[in-house]
Amino acid sequence: MTLSLLPTADDSRTNATFEEMMWALSRPGIVRTLPAGGLAAMAESLIDRECSFHVEDDVEFEHALKRSGARAVSLSEAEYVFTVIDTEEKVSRHAVLRTGTLAYPDEAATLFAPARFGFGQGLRLTGPGIKDSLTIAVDGIDPSFWQMRERAIRYPLGFDVYLVDGDDVIGLPRSTKIEVL
C-alpha cells in the first residue's frame, strides 16, 4: 500500500493555524501570526458538527460556520463565540458566557473578538505561560470588558479569549491575571 505522506492544502492550513493558536494560549500576550485566513481559518481548524457556536451581528460568517455542521445557539449556551466587544453595552451582554462547572471547567466558552494591537489600553499580564510579567496594548475592546472578565472568572471556572487583529492573534486563557494600566 502506498501511503499519501503529504497533507492536503486544507490539512496544512488547519494544522498551522492550530499551532499558532496553541502557542498563543501557551504564551498569553505574545502576538502569534496565523499563516492566513484570520478568524475563518481559526474556526475551520476547530469547529465541526460536534460543536455549538454563536456569532453576533455577522450573518455571512454565521452561514459559513453553519456549513461546518456546527449548531448555532444562544450566547449563553455556545462553546465558541465570535463577537465584537467595543462598547459597554455589547460587553454587558456577554456576562452570560459559559464558564464550565467545577467538575468540568473545560466545558466553557472560547471568545473570539477583533482588536488592534500595539496601541490603546495598556494591560499587564501575569500567570502561567508568562515569564515574570508582560505588558501589552490593545485597542478596540471596551475597558469594561476587563472588569466583566474578572467578575466572570472564578478560577478554574471562566472563559478563554482570543483577540484577533487580522492574522495576528493574542490568547488570554482564564489562568492569566490582567491588570488594567
Binding site: 500500500m1 502506498t2 501511503l3 499519501s4 505522506l5 503529504l6 497533507p7 492536503t8 486544507d10 490539512d11 496544512s12 488547519t14 494544522n15 498551522a16 492550530f18 499551532e19 493558536m21 496553541m22 502557542w23 494560549l25 501557551s26 504564551r27 481548524s45 476547530l46 469547529i47 465541526d48 460536534e50 460543536c51 453553519k66 456549513r67 455542521g69 462547572t101 467545577l102 467538575a103 468540568y104 471547567p105 473545560d106 466553557a108 472560547t110 500567570g127 502561567p128 505561560g129 508568562i130 515569564k131 478560577y155 478554574p156 478563554d160 486563557p173 482564564r174 489562568s175
Partner: protein, 307 residues
C-alpha cells in the same frame, strides 16, 4: 447546504493517520487543557494501530501536531532505541513523512515515556508525555466520579496522608515515580511515571508539556513558565534520587539519572538513562564535533534556580 459541500474528495489515507474530525476534537481539548493547567480534560481517544497502554495517548497528541517539517524524537525510559520508542518513531515517519531524530536539541516534538531528557528543552519545543494513569487521587479514591468532585473542590488532603504513611513506615518518602505535584497552585497532577529526578524540570520550564492518557481518555497540560510543586511537608524537603555521584560505565559521565545494571559479582554498574545524551558524550570524547545542550542538572545537582 448540499452533501457535496460537506464531503471531501476520496483518499485512501489521511495525513497523520487520524482523520480530520479526530484532530479537530483533540485540538479543542488541547486548547482547554492549556487554558486550565493541570486540569484533566476528557477526550475521545480514537483507535490507533497500537494497543491501549502502549502510548496511544501521546501518539494521538503528536499525530495532531504533526506536519512534514516536524522533527520527532521518541523516548522510552530514556532510550531512543527500545522497541516501543523505535516503532512509534517509525510510525510517525510513515504516516507523517516527518524527520526522525534522536537528538533532543534538534527535535520540535519530543514524545516520551517515563523520562524528561537531561538537556533543557527550548521555548519552541513540545514535550508529549505518555500517561498510563492520569489520576493522582486513584490510590485514595478509586471512584473516578468522586475523584473528579475532589479535584473540583481542590480536596487533596489525603495525598499528604499517603506521603505521611510512607514516611512513618519507611522513614522516607517512597514514591518513586508519578510523584503528585501541584500545578499553578490549583490542580494536583501525576506527572506520568517520570522519576522524582525529572519533576523539577517541569517547574517554570521553557517548553510546553502535554500529558495524554489514551486508555483513560484524558489529557492535561503544563504550559511554559508555570509553577509545578511536588507535594512535600514543610520539614521534609523534596528529595530526588541519589544519582549525583553515580558514573556511567560507558560514557564516564557523572551526575545524571542512571540505570542500575546488576553484575555477576553482586556489585552494580550504572549507565546513563538518557541514552542519546550518553552517546553524545561518547562521541565528544572520541573527538567528534558534538554539541551538548545546557542541562538542568550540573554536577548531580539541580542548578536551575527556577526549580
Amino acid at each position: 447546504m448540499k452533501l457535496q459541500e460537506l464531503t471531501k474528495p476520496w483518499a485512501a489515507f489521511n495525513y497523520g493517520f487520524l482523520d480530520e474530525s479526530a484532530k479537530r476534537e483533540l485540538r479543542r481539548r488541547i486548547l482547554k487543557a492549556i487554558a486550565i493547567p493541570g486540569c484533566q480534560v476528557p477526550y475521545a481517544s480514537r483507535e490507533v494501530p497500537m494497543a491501549r497502554g502502549w502510548g496511544t495517548g501521546g501518539l494521538q497528541v503528536t499525530l495532531t501536531l504533526l506536519k512534514p517539517a516536524s522533527v520527532v524524537k521518541v523516548i522510552d525510559q530514556g532510550a531512543d532505541d527500545s522497541v516501543n520508542a523505535s516503532s512509534i518513531r517509525k510510525f510517525f515517519g510513515r504516516v507523517g513523512g516527518v524527520v526522525e531524530t534522536e537528538d533532543t536539541g534538534k527535535a520540535t516534538i519530543v514524545q516520551s515515556r517515563h523520562r524528561i531528557p537531561e538537556e533543557k528543552l527550548r521555548e519552541d519545543q513540545v514535550l508529549v508525555l505518555q500517561v498510563p494513569n492520569p489520576e493522582p487521587l486513584r490510590p485514595v479514591q478509586p471512584d473516578i466520579s468522586i475523584a473528579r468532585d475532589m479535584h473540583g473542590d481542590a480536596d487533596y488532603g489525603q495525598l499528604w496522608l499517603v506521603l505521611y504513611e510512607q514516611l512513618v513506615k519507611s522513614g522516607r518518602i517512597m514514591q518513586g515515580a508519578e510523584y503528585p505535584s501541584l500545578v499553578n497552585g490549583r490542580y494536583v497532577i501525576t506527572p506520568s511515571p517520570i522519576p522524582r529526578w525529572d519533576v523539577p524540570k517541569l517547574n517554570q520550564a521553557d517548553h510546553l508539556t502535554i500529558l495524554s492518557a489514551g486508555r483513560e481518555k484524558r489529557l492535561y497540560a503544563v504550559p511554559p513558565y508555570t509553577k509545578v510543586e511536588p507535594l512535600v511537608f514543610d520539614d521534609v524537603p523534596y528529595r530526588v534520587e541519589d544519582h549525583h555521584d553515580k558514573t556511567c560505565y560507558r560514557s564516564n559521565v557523572t551526575g545524571y539519572f542512571v540505570n542500575e545494571l546488576p553484575q555477576e559479582d553482586g556489585s552494580s554498574a550504572y549507565e546513563l538513562s538518557d541514552s542519546h545524551f550518553g552517546i553524545k558524550h561518547i562521541r565528544k570524547a572520541e573527538g567528534e564535533p558534538v554539541e551538548i545542550g545546557d542541562t538542568w542538572y550540573k554536577n548531580g545537582r539541580m542548578t536551575d534556580d527556577r526549580a
